[in-house]
Symmetry: C2
Subunit: 212 residues, 2 copies
């Protein structure tokens, strides 16, 4: 989210270095620090990762990491901030929205940085409540929000079921790399999964809530 | 799997201590070591976990850990061995098999040790190929095998889609604890998810493979 937009609101074309709180900063340095932090948090977990180690990995001074992020907790929060656009379902015919949701998330995961982000999030979320909360917030913004705006009944339960299927695909395909799922084309995954998502969108709520 | 059955094949009712390779062993000690190992592997990852640390956590001597398991790699393999029964689908009417699969896995995860096991597996599988391979083998045994025996067409693809939905439920409900999924009753989850699994079992293969 806001990460990319927090500097240079004047609209002028400044050089990448500009004044932030506490001294000059650059978006490039910020990203270098965040990349290093994600790698270390994912490999070692939150507790075992130090500002000093992140600075060494990013090849900069530890005081600079502090100037950019203030604390290890804030650095972690920034590293765990997910920069994905919510899907635009309003412009999609209702009967195609299941497919649109699957395609939106698969396209997001296909980009390399997002795959790293998925690994980072799942590695850390398992033991870190802050990351789990961050994922809940992202999930609410990406799925519950759009369904609520479009007037779906019981959007939380529909979104939870949709999220379980999409996260399962991400986990099995990109992280565990289970076959044959990892080898399928995106179109094949969409063909298999889109009707599931469509049903979670459209089935009457009682059918999603009561034992068969 | 074999874990529980590797000793005392004579069928006699021996006391828990019995002779294995390299000296006396007990199932209780073995389990204590495995529990300690899962906790440490999950918290620190494979590389950062030592036999010495596992022994300290289990409150026994490191040489005893070596006598039971031989090496860190073998200890890890034993810790990652999943002790679940494959679902018995042959005795279930075909139209109820989706529901039976969901109930089988949900019941397995509900037991406390299995929840710890899930956390351990997902924490370590993300960075450890041996665990990912173990999960692939388990997945083949638990889902692909039964579908193949029952004569389903393209059992690998059906199983992959089924696995993605079931693993997604496990991840969101037991590990990330995303709401509202974590708060739903088992029956509510079954009501929502069983028709998905049923469709992955019964939809004609072209409908699972070709873009809509």
């Amino acid at each position: 989210m806001g990460v990319m937009m927090r500097e240079n609101r004047s609209g002028t074309t400044r050089p990448p270095d500009c004044l932030g709180v506490g001294g000059p900063r650059s978006e490039g340095t910020r990203r270098t620090i965040l990349d290093a932090a994600r790698g270390l948090f994912a490999a070692r977990g939150y507790e075992q990762t130090t500002i000093r180690a992140v600075a060494a990995e990013a090849d900069i001074d530890a005081s600079l990491v502090m100037r950019y992020f203030g604390s290890k907790a804030d650095l972690f929060a920034a590293a765990a901030t997910i920069d994905l656009n919510a899907p635009d379902l309003a412009s999609v015919p209702p009967r195609r929205r299941g497919e649109a949701l699957v395609r939106h998330f698969m396209a997001s995961w296909d980009r390399d940085p997002s795959e790293d982000m998925l690994v980072f999030l799942l590695r850390t979320a398992v033991t870190n409540d802050a990351v789990a909360e961050q994922m809940q917030a992202t999930f609410n913004r990406m799925i519950v929000g759009p369904l609520t705006q479009l007037g779906y009944t019981d959007p939380e339960r529909r979104a939870a079921l949709i999220g379980s299927q999409l996260m399962g695909v991400a986990l099995c395909r990109h992280i565990l790399r289970l076959e044959p799922l990892a080898a399928l084309s995106n179109d094949e995954v969409v063909a298999g999964v889109a009707p599931t998502i469509q049903r979670y969108l459209t089935a009457p709520t009682p059918a999603l809530a009561q034992p068969a």
